[in-house]
């Protein structure tokens, strides 16, 4: 449990506040979060694929818009805007650098010392920047929805040793911090509090790090021996994560697959072609008229899928109000061991509050 508490501590604002919010209003939990990890993974992989596959101003704009909307839904509008504020200078930089160093393009905006700055280069930079920003924002929503526990559960099938190592690293970080404090206290008891000189402070920090490393290493060897004694690698132990595929996962999974398939086919057949240089124009192989709107429509539905699913769930909630929601099949004991953020879903998972879960566990 220490690990879980500590992860919560480090990601403090993110983990704890979302937890608090969801305990207040269970409705804040995103529908996507309650699906099977494979569904979440597939969706975000598809979104990244499609976003990076196309270099088209409208597509980049749609992807960016929905990435931001989803971000607002996941962490709240205020926080999403604040994180966007950090990203905007990046967009500006990419756009400007491209415009400054790139002389291709026909439409000169202004000329300084024989170098002309073109509209096309500016547009290209803007689209590149939007794509990069979208990718980053999609990624951050992904890591909020796919917590470390779920990620490791998925990784555990293919790379059991590596995923175990990652979870052990998490487990060791709080230990390391605690040992560091202990060493610092005993050093102070031995040597007295430092005289305030920079030099002594640095010397002590180095000493502390060195002791810490040796201590952790010896501890780790003990852990290794006890792992062996408990039958690690005896062949009868397997990674275990009880996430079950239910009928509820089928619809979003298929929707993602179909929409992504359509979008990729559209892109590969050149439907989203858009040339920036020498003068921006849409080549003849690109979709026009109705087909173009269908293509954009597919892309919009794909980008907005998490929000649509969310609305769908809400409607279903309203319709089935009063009826007890069928509990999701997660063993309460296992659920309690998942990382903190996973517990957000508890209110919904067990159609009750935390206390019911606790009662279940105790019984």
């Amino acid at each position: 449990m220490t690990m879980i508490v500590f992860i919560g501590g480090i990601q403090s604002s993110k983990a704890t506040s979302s937890n608090d919010e969801s305990q207040d209003k269970g409705a804040l939990v995103l529908a996507l979060k309650r699906y099977h990890p494979a569904v979440v993974f597939l969706y975000f992989a598809a979104m990244l694929l499609v976003t990076m596959l196309v270099h088209h101003p409208v597509i980049a704009g749609i992807s960016f818009l929905f990435a931001v909307l989803l971000r607002c839904r996941v962490i709240g509008v205020a926080k999403a805007m604040r994180s966007l504020l950090y990203l905007l200078p990046m967009l500006l930089m990419i756009t400007c650098i491209n415009a400054l160093v790139n002389e291709s393009g026909m439409t000169a905006l202004f000329t300084i010392g024989g170098r002309s700055f073109t509209l096309e280069a500016l547009l290209y930079g803007l689209v590149s920047g939007l794509t990069l920003l979208s990718v980053i924002i999609w990624f951050s929503s992904y890591s909020d929805l796919m917590e470390n526990g779920r990620f490791l559960a998925m990784l555990g099938r293919r790379l059991p040793v590596i995923s175990m190592m990652i979870s052990m690293i998490f487990r060791y970080i709080p230990d390391t911090v605690r040992h560091g404090r202990e060493i610092e206290m005993s050093q102070r008891a031995l040597l007295g509090s430092d005289d305030g000189h920079r030099k002594t402070k640095v010397a002590r920090a180095i000493r502390l790090a060195s002791i810490l490393m040796a201590w952790s290493m010896e501890n780790a060897i003990e852990t290794a021996d006890s792992m062996r004694a408990k039958g690690y690698q005896s062949g009868c132990r397997k990674p275990y994560a009880r996430v079950r595929w239910t009928e509820r996962d089928v619809m979003p999974f298929l929707l993602t697959l179909i929409l992504t398939g359509l979008a990729v086919i559209g892109v590969l057949s050149g439907g989203a072609a858009f040339l920036f240089y020498p003068e921006w124009y849409i080549p003849s192989r690109a979709f026009v008229g109705g087909r173009l709107y269908v293509f954009f429509g597919v892309f919009i539905v794909l980008s907005g899928l998490p929000l649509l699913l969310d609305i769908g769930e809400k409607i279903r909630d309203v319709l089935s109000l009063g009826r007890r929601r069928a509990s999701r099949e997660i063993d309460p004991f296992v659920a309690a061991m998942l990382p903190d953020q996973d517990l957000d879903g508890q209110g919904m998972l067990f159609s009750g509050d935390g206390s019911e879960k606790r009662r279940r566990m105790e019984s």
Partner: protein
């Protein structure tokens, strides 16, 4: 015995070719100005890390071989989080280099790659994660190779390597950005983008040396002692 040796060699060939193929592939992408490089390079970077992980899984490592890597990664991750307020100053490279020297090239690679993956779970995952995994892994791997070739007899060689490794890390990360997001790619645009990142990379290089100076010999000595005390030597690692 023979088959053992052969499999080790095969693993080695696979590793070296992966390490070389990724940069070559990136240069080709840049040279031919292939479209949609962002997606292509991301996929390649993920694939570049796979042979090491698969090799490690296949070798069925014992807990005693797993744990040192875990501890060093945990220390590096904790260090990165501790120094997070100061941008580009992080002890990760230094710790990865020491691990590579003491425990060999593959342990160096794994420590670097796992530190990147695990610490990004705190600092934020992104398309840069596989690149950081590759870059730090490479730093650890090369440190291991150079140590086994006895090139690190003098301490200053390691410091120089630490300095270069910071620049190497920056070169890989900047190249990823340039190849994926700058178009059309000209010498001028590439130079401008590298120039924009140069001072940050310099800061990383200097920080790595500053961290290496106090920890290099005591940590290497301690790790070597622990290695011989508990018999942690892995053949071929």
């Amino acid at each position: 015995m023979i088959s053992d040796k052969r499999s080790v060699n095969m693993g080695m060939i696979l590793e070296v070719s992966t390490l070389i193929l990724l940069p070559v592939f990136m240069i080709l992408c840049a040279y031919f100005e292939i479209r949609q490089t962002a997606l292509l390079t991301l996929t390649t970077a993920i694939l570049a890390n796979v042979p090491f992980f698969i090799n490690f899984e296949k070798s069925r490592p014992k807990p005693r071989h797993i744990l040192p890597i875990v501890v060093m990664s945990a220390l590096a991750t904790a260090g990165r989080i501790l120094f997070a307020p100061i941008p580009h100053v992080k002890p990760v490279s230094a710790i990865v280099i020491v691990t590579g020297i003491a425990f060999g090239r593959r342990s160096g690679y794994l420590t670097g790659a796992l530190t990147a993956l695990a610490s990004n779970m705190f600092m934020g995952q992104g398309p840069w994660t596989p690149w950081q995994m590759f870059a730090w892994g490479l730093i650890g791997y090369l440190a291991g190779v150079m140590a086994s070739r006895n090139l690190f007899r003098y301490r200053w060689v390691v410091y120089v390597y630490g300095f270069v490794s910071g620049l190497l890390f920056g070169l890989i990360m900047d190249s990823w950005h340039i190849i994926s997001f700058v178009s059309p790619l000209t010498w001028l645009s590439a130079l401008a983008a590298y120039g924009a990142g140069f001072f940050f990379n310099l800061a990383h290089s200097i920080a790595t040396v500053v961290f290496l100076v106090p920890i290099l010999s005591p940590w290497t000595k301690k790790l070597t002692r622990i290695k011989s005390k508990f018999g942690l030597d892995l053949p071929g690692w």
